[in-house]
């Protein structure tokens, strides 16, 4: 596992809220239902009964596979605050682990879409001068997101360095 070796396991990894898992499940469910209705509409219009059963089964299987994949991706997401930098890990197929020094931070962005808000969640993103930097943490409880934002901002100020 990627995360075990950085800093000899002394890291305190935090995970997104379990509610993110629920939110993602609803998203998959919504997508599955919409495509189910579309496909069923087409199949019924064509009037093929056997095809309808096959389509429903295929879509349900696809939906549950997507649910498992999404669940693994949610579980793979994590972040750890070290004394000098923030660590963010994510991804199942393509695993990423980013180290972003607090001093390199340009600004912190907290965003919450309508569905995230309904679940009381928010996404925290740390921006550096490098466009490639990848420090996005989705699905944090709103309180934790606010804490992290303030924490990162104050740490960024105390460690600040120029370009």
């Amino acid at each position: 596992m990627v995360e075990e070796d950085v800093n000899e396991g002394a890291l305190d990894w935090h995970a997104p809220s379990p509610r993110l898992r629920v939110l993602r499940r609803y998203e998959v469910l919504a997508a599955t239902l919409v495509s189910l209705f579309l496909v069923l509409g087409i199949v019924v219009a064509l009037g093929a009964g056997v095809l309808a059963v096959v389509a429903v089964v295929v879509l349900l299987v696809a939906g549950s596979i997507a649910d498992v994949v999404v669940g693994r991706r949610v579980r793979a997401w994590g972040y750890a605050e070290r004394s000098e930098d923030l660590l963010v890990r994510r991804g199942v197929m393509f695993r990423r682990l980013s180290v972003i020094p607090y001093g390199r931070m340009q600004y912190v962005q907290v965003t919450a879409g309508p569905f995230e808000r309904a679940f009381g969640l928010a996404t925290v993103q740390m921006h550096t001068a490098a466009a490639a930097s990848d420090a996005r943490i989705p699905g944090l409880p709103a309180v934790e997101a606010a804490r992290l934002r303030d924490q990162l901002t104050s740490l960024g100020e105390s460690h600040a360095m120029g370009l």
């Binding site: 393509f94 682990l97 980013s98 180290v99 490098a130």
Partner: protein, 480 residues
């Protein structure tokens, strides 16, 4: 062929008339330099641009319009179509008036370390460019501006959506003096003798012949040559078909030629010079430019060795300074974000320049584990990386070899990536992200354990490098 360290530059080669067109490579004549105090804008007073600015900016378009008018006027004078003439002259008057108004409402000044530019009549805009954040200053002289002895000053900042501060146009002398002063102000030096900053030592010049050959051997050049060969063969075998092909693909062909000429024009007689206020790059055939990159603003350097150049042992060096992706209108200069430090040169020349720009860069390079051959069969022979306490260097590339140098003090974040195939071979890639846009150092296909060790250790090394650089700069500042 080698022109290493030759401070003497042949002057007047690039311009048929040295008086009308100042040579781009010649150092500015000290006698044409006014006292810096003579530029009122530096004293905090509002200042206009040069009165010829609207004319030069309208540039080629205006010349074409005037030429058409003259042509039509000559042609139609016998037949007497006065209405049409009146319309054209009216159009010309409107364009001129608009140009004059835009000149009248544009003004600039330097106040408390900020260059402020105000423009616009109906929608007034005021832009402030903090001098402490200057990444580079360019002086650009398009062909028409050179005729009038004018120059455009461009200030490149890291932020601001990649937008540059532009003063178009100033006189040559004003632009040179302003650059010196702005760079001095950006380093926090309030009073500094501008004469000192003008003594620059030319490091090397690229001979036009070699540049031409290198462009012919570049990817686009080879495509163009292939197209020409095919067309010639076609013309011999079936003249009718060839004519049809040419007329069909004329636009594409023209585009190719223009693109290649632009490259030739941009890098023509490129001279790298070591100036007290930074690295100076002068180049250009029709449009000349002089870029100044202050010390410590270079985010990364890349060396590219294309396959077709290898028989001559040529390579290309590019520098990258900090800039952000522009969100709206794409600035034409953005394409040049990675500027050629050496458009074409021998490896010895590249090493010579590298030693000047990034002194004592790492020598020792580590190859990836042998099993990386299965993941990157084409890249494998070029993959390596090395680091000391100041720089990291990585090499990669499939057909062409690419070497990237990144100062550890400039690393913004470090990422470890592991794709499905890499995981199979217990490999991972480590990206060193900098604020530059073109050059990204990637330690490709390292052993996973090594990667994780690096991820644990590199942030600390970057911090140390940063402290070292700050200590060095502090020492320089107090001594100057």
């Amino acid at each position: 062929m080698s022109e290493l360290g030759g401070p003497e530059l042949p002057a007047g080669l690039s311009s048929p008339d040295p008086q009308a067109m100042p040579d781009p490579n010649a150092s500015p004549d000290p006698q044409t330099m006014p006292d810096p105090k003579a530029i009122a804008g530096l004293g905090g007073d509002w200042q206009r641009l040069h009165p010829m600015s609207p004319l030069v900016r309208a540039g080629r378009g205006l010349i074409v319009i005037v030429a058409i008018l003259l042509f039509q006027g000559l042609g139609s004078s016998g037949r007497g179509s006065g209405d049409n003439d009146l319309l054209h002259i009216g159009l010309l008057v409107v364009v001129t008036v608009l140009g004059v108004i835009s000149w009248l409402v544009t003004r600039w000044r330097v106040e408390e370390g900020v260059l402020r530019v105000e423009s616009g009549l109906i929608r007034r805009t005021s832009e402030g460019f903090p001098l402490s954040q200057i990444q580079a200053i360019d002086i650009v002289r398009p062909g028409l501006a050179r005729v009038f002895g004018l120059a455009e000053l461009r200030i490149r900042l890291a932020s601001g959506g990649g937008k540059a501060g532009r003063l178009a146009y100033l006189t040559d002398a004003e632009a040179e003096t302003l650059r010196v002063r702005l760079l001095a102000l950006s380093h926090g030096m309030v009073e500094q003798t501008p004469a000192m900053a003008r003594t620059e030592q030319a490091l090397l010049t690229v001979p036009p012949g070699r540049l031409f050959a290198s462009i012919l051997l570049s990817g686009t050049g080879l495509v163009l040559e292939l197209v020409i060969v095919v067309l010639v063969v076609l013309a011999i075998l079936a003249p009718g078909a060839a004519a049809a092909t040419i007329s069909a693909g004329a636009v594409g062909l023209f585009g190719l030629v223009v693109g290649l000429f632009r490259r030739f024009n941009g890098d023509y007689r490129l001279t790298v010079a070591d100036a007290p206020d930074g690295l100076r790059l002068r180049s250009g055939l029709v449009e000349t430019s002089a870029e100044t990159i202050p010390r410590g603003r270079i985010q990364a350097i890349r060396m590219v060795e294309p396959l077709a150049w290898r028989m001559f042992g040529w390579c290309r060096l590019e520098v990258d300074v900090a800039s952000q992706k522009s969100k709206g209108r794409q600035d034409r200069n953005q394409a040049k974000a990675a500027r050629a430090l050496l458009p074409v040169g021998s490896r010895a020349q590249a090493a010579f320049l590298m030693a000047r720009v990034f002194p004592d860069s790492p020598e020792q390079r580590l190859p990836p584990p042998a099993r990386a051959r299965w993941k990157s069969p084409l890249r494998f022979r070029y993959l390596s990386w090395g680091a000391n306490d100041r720089y990291a260097v990585t090499t990669s590339g499939r057909l062409r070899r690419v070497t990237d140098w990144v100062p550890l003090a400039k690393v913004q974040s470090i990422r470890l990536l592991e794709g499905p195939i890499q995981r199979r071979f217990r490999l991972s890639s480590i990206h060193l992200d900098t604020a530059g846009r073109k050059v990204h150092a990637v330690l490709r296909d390292r052993d996973r354990q090594e990667g994780l060790r690096l991820l644990g250790g590199l942030p600390d090394r970057c911090r140390q490098a940063r402290k070292l650089e700050e200590a060095n700069r502090g020492g320089l500042r107090s001594s100057s």
